[in-house]
Amino acid sequence: MSPKTLYDKIWDAHVVQQDDDGTCLLYIDRHLVHEVTSPQAFEGLRMSGRTVRAPEKTIAVPDHNVPTTLDRASGVIENEESRIQVEALDKNAREFGVHYYPVNDVRQGIVHIVGPEQGWTLPGMTVVCGDSHTATHGAFGALAHGIGTSEVEHVLATQTLIQKKSKNMKVEITGQLRPGVTAKDITLAVIGATGTAGGTGYVIEYCGEAIRSLSMEGRMTVCNMAIEGGARAGLIAPDETTFSYVKGRPHAPKGAQWEAALAWWKTLYTDEGAHFDKVVTLKGEDIQPVVTWGTSPEDVLPITATVPAPEDFKGGKVDAARRSLEYMGLTPGMKLTDIEIDTVFIGSCTNGRIEDLRAAAAVLKGKKIKDGMRAMVVPGSGLVRAQAEEEGLADIFKEAGFEWRLAGCSMCLAMNPDQLAEGERCASTSNRNFEGRQGYKGRTHLVSPAMAAAAALTGRLTDVRELI
């Protein structure tokens, strides 16, 4: 048998039927659902008299629209459209009998944080969600990707997707990271190197010593942004780190099933000599703490660099860079560390897990944020929030001057009231720096949690290595 990649193995295990032209019907093991991309899909089912084929494999949680302020417990969402969407999910989840974590359940949170936390996401699975950051679950060696609402309806009705296989791409990070450099810096550095279309048509497998050394939280951060690199999905082969994270989670297998699962999971790696269509290698030691300067996630530079000029680019990127610089209000040649910020956001499915909060708190401990700075921490789930309180992290944030919020997507995409005002500039641990992403004419610099904390202290983009 010819050697297979990890992607090949998971794919092959889920093909229900294959047509002559390579179009496959792929079985879906887990379907995650949130309130923004699902109402039209449930409505479609209703209109055609269809039902949810596998409600036991479907998990719903509201996250995008929910307020994160402490008065949320009162149950009132002031924005009417947001309220209607959250209520629609509530109604649909109950009517179709899927697993459901309502707003005031302590387990509620961002769908990509809740799935792994509850043990819904397991190695070797196919996982989909009407959300591009479904790539996150690839950290477990699960084939996980975002889908549109029509496909959400397709999965609800049939538990399958019509798919063609992508090509295999390997991203290897050799060696070890230097102090102050994190998983976020890895994933941004990769996008900086390959561009936002560099992964288009591929599923990426991340490997190498620096990846192996990451915790599950770090691996999720890396895979989360595979989509910003254009890839359908990101994968990391499961290992002892994965197994020990999964073991004992509420929906992880137990007893004899655990043993059987483990035996299969241990076969989920890329065989020696398997073919990759594209290979990218970065040295872990070369990666520095990075920030984005523009309005595309590929606009990545080390924090020690200066703002580029449009002429530094080629082709269509020249005009795009000019537009970005104007939008961001930056002048070519200025030092990135001279960029003053007024807002700091720590959270999102990229960086809203416990390790992210620990990294930020370590920088903030015993210090105060700059006067006038608006800074907030939005834990990725109610359970992350509870754990952070137990570990004393919440007190560090509050004493430093951060707002300590309830779980949700929040200012990552600003569908709830957490938004930037026109011209405000944010150091954000989220995943997209698009125009208007965090609020109309708001300006976003993507950074790691430690870098965000450093910026909150100094009031400008800051090299965290100077503070540790």
Binding site: P39, I147, A197
Partner: protein, 201 residues
């Protein structure tokens, strides 16, 4: 789903690279629980000022492009989120085909589910079509899905590739849920087998 066979219409040039889904339809319009009515907010932040007035320079606000049915766009069109609101907004506006050197994967798939044909062509051909689109309303472009051909206003013809199954669905306006439901016996037997080999699922 509406069928797509052959279209002759106005093409609007949008040479900017990396036009993302937040540009196509900003998140404030994702709060709908319907699919329809998003066309008025297509490219909202590029198209209107803060008071809701049209920005005259924006391509789809120019008189010659208000009825555009084709977009010729810069590299990596539709990058970003999985929101199907992006093709819903394009379709509601009246866009039926988008031509670029590359598309983001999820957006590309979403187009086909909504009767929109995304076409990938090499950079030099997109450049020719961009120039053709810049000629304005009197220059009509033809997109023929059956023949897999684009004809410029001055008769230049480019052929394009399209997945055979997706082409079949688009030509016939097929709903793929219906097609998959016909395979339910195969899904049943896959599920039964998986329940044996991977019972923890």
């Amino acid at each position: 789903m509406e069928k797509f066979k052959k279209l002759t219409g106005i093409a609007a040039p949008m040479p900017l690279v990396n036009i993302d889904t937040d540009m196509i339809i900003p998140k404030v319009f994702l709060k709908t629980i319907k699919r329809s009515g998003l066309g008025v907010n297509l490219f909202d932040e590029m198209r209107y000022d803060r008071d809701g007035n049209e920005i005259p320079d924006f391509v789809l606000n120019k008189p010659q492009y208000r009825e555009a049915e084709i977009l010729v766009a810069g590299d990596n069109f539709g990058c970003g989120s999985s929101r199907e609101h992006a093709p819903w907004a394009l379709q509601d506006f009246g866009i039926k085909a988008v031509i670029s050197t590359s598309f983001a994967d999820i957006f590309f798939n979403n187009c086909f589910k909504n009767g929109i044909l995304p076409i990938v062509l090499p950079p030099e051909q997109v450049e020719v079509l961009m120039k053709d689109a810049e000629k304005g309303a009197n220059a009509r472009m033809t997109v023929d899905l059956e023949a897999q051909e684009i004809t410029t206003s001055d008769g230049q013809v480019f052929t394009f590739e399209v997945d055979a199954f997706k082409k079949h669905c688009l030509l016939n306006g097929l709903d793929d849920i219906g097609l998959t439901m016909e395979k339910s016996a195969a899904i049943d037997s896959f599920e039964a087998q998986a329940a044996q080999s991977r019972p923890w699922i």
